[in-house]
């Protein structure tokens, strides 16, 4: 299926899902007007890829979100849930979770994900602040 690329806007992140390379990246800030719709469309595309995917090679997910609002938080939880289901069925899914080294909120959300989605290979990356 086609890759999914959505350029960043002032209130939404860059979405770069290279399904052909099995490499999915999110980068930026997320507080779109309608988070359910913005993330809903992305999750639909992701679920389609995961369902149609016949390959068993690992999938790498790189997330470097500096901020997400409450409604995006909720949607991200379902997105990682879909990836966890894939991992449960036998495909290795690596989640690289990037956050500023002193950003407790994003670090802690990563820990929630690690707890709830134990089938993902979770790597926490604390990035030095500028």
């Amino acid at each position: 299926m086609d890759n999914l690329f959505i350029a960043a806007s002032p209130s939404s992140p860059e979405v770069d899902f290279r399904f052909d390379e099995r490499r999915l990246s999110l980068k930026g800030e997320s507080y779109p007007e309608n988070a359910a719709q913005f993330w809903g469309d992305i999750i639909v595309a992701l679920r389609r890829f995961l369902a149609e995917d016949g390959d068993t090679a690992p999938v790498a997910v790189n997330v470097a979100l500096a901020y997400f609002n409450s409604s995006s938080t909720k949607m991200l939880f379902s997105l990682f849930g879909a990836l966890n289901d894939k991992a449960k069925s036998g495909t290795e899914v690596v989640l690289n979770w990037y956050h500023d080294e002193d950003d407790d909120t994003i670090f802690e959300f990563g820990q929630e994900l690690r707890e709830d989605f134990p089938d993902l290979v979770f790597n926490d990356h604390a990035v030095k602040s500028l």
Binding site: S9, P10, S11, Y31, P32, E33, N34, A35, A36, Y67, N69, S70, S71, T73, K74, M75, F77, D100, D102, D103, D104, T105, E112, D116, S129
Partner: protein, 186 residues
Amino acid sequence: MNDIQRQWDDFHSYVERRDVIFYYVGYFSQTIIAAMADAVKLRVEHAGAVAQTRRKLFSSFIEMAQNIVHYSADSYEKEGNSEASMRHGAVFISLTDGRYYLHCANPVNADVAEKLREKLEHLRSLTIEEIKLEYKETLRAETPADSKGAGLGFLTMARDASAPLEFELSPATDNGMSMFYLRATI
């Protein structure tokens, strides 16, 4: 001193006396929020807030501003504009003795007023540990049908605040409207 300058001086001295570092009143849309978000980031950085405080201020600011878009009863619809959700409200940030306060105000109808009162009175009765626990539970629960923010917005503000959220609702007018005032201490 001429009149223009005097007007400015009066205004500025009032703003300073009230420790106001950012103020906006008018219509809120996603575009306006994104532009203000930029200004707020710069402003609190300039005011000298540490990174963690800046992030909490920014987060609560976005939640408040988006609440105004979602819940304010006073809407403005530009003719032929697809951006239907321009809603009226006000936000301000003050800095007193090293503490930041975020305030917002917007008109709400009776239904929304009642829900806000219930929600906020409940949150005010919780300890910070209970707030964190409820946040975790809400994150994993189904989204309530009447919520656009997945029910996490006020929990996020309560979690990031250093004191319980404070609110007031003015007595309803004849048409059932109240003003909703919210203050978060960061």
